[in-house]
Assembly symmetry: C2
Homo-oligomer: 91 residues x 2
Amino acid sequence: MNETFKALADPTRRQIIALLKERDMTAGDIAEHFNISKPSISHHLNLLKQANIILDQRQGQFIYYSLNATVFQELISWFMQLGNFGGKEGD
Amino acid sequence: MNETFKALADPTRRQIIALLKERDMTAGDIAEHFNISKPSISHHLNLLKQANIILDQRQGQFIYYSLNATVFQELISWFMQLGNFGGKEGD
């Protein structure tokens, strides 16, 4: 959980996550959406991968990154169990 | 969001959040649940407060801490909008 939340505590990484929500992408696809260097994008992708937030899969000569739905499900569950924040109105 | 996730990236702070889920507590109440110093607990409480995750309210001579439900709601919404992770099964 520490690694997960640390990885989320960065706006570029959250933007990468938002992009990967739309479709799986290569590092090159992702880099096109940012004005930062490719090595910097790779660094962010590595952190996201280490935190298990994204997965990578080789397809031919390309590596495609995708969101790890399981981790998001776990995070949502963690937040939900902190209260009835998700389902109920009222105090 | 950066501050929020940074604040969550610590197991003691997540335990404090879990305690405050049960009921509002003073710093003293919280400290009883940990084997760490009161100043260290205060430090964690300050970080949680700065991140807007907890709220404090004076009642007489005591300050009671409580969870900020709004922030948890926002975080859940953020995770939910990343996909249909919350509501739907399927592939």
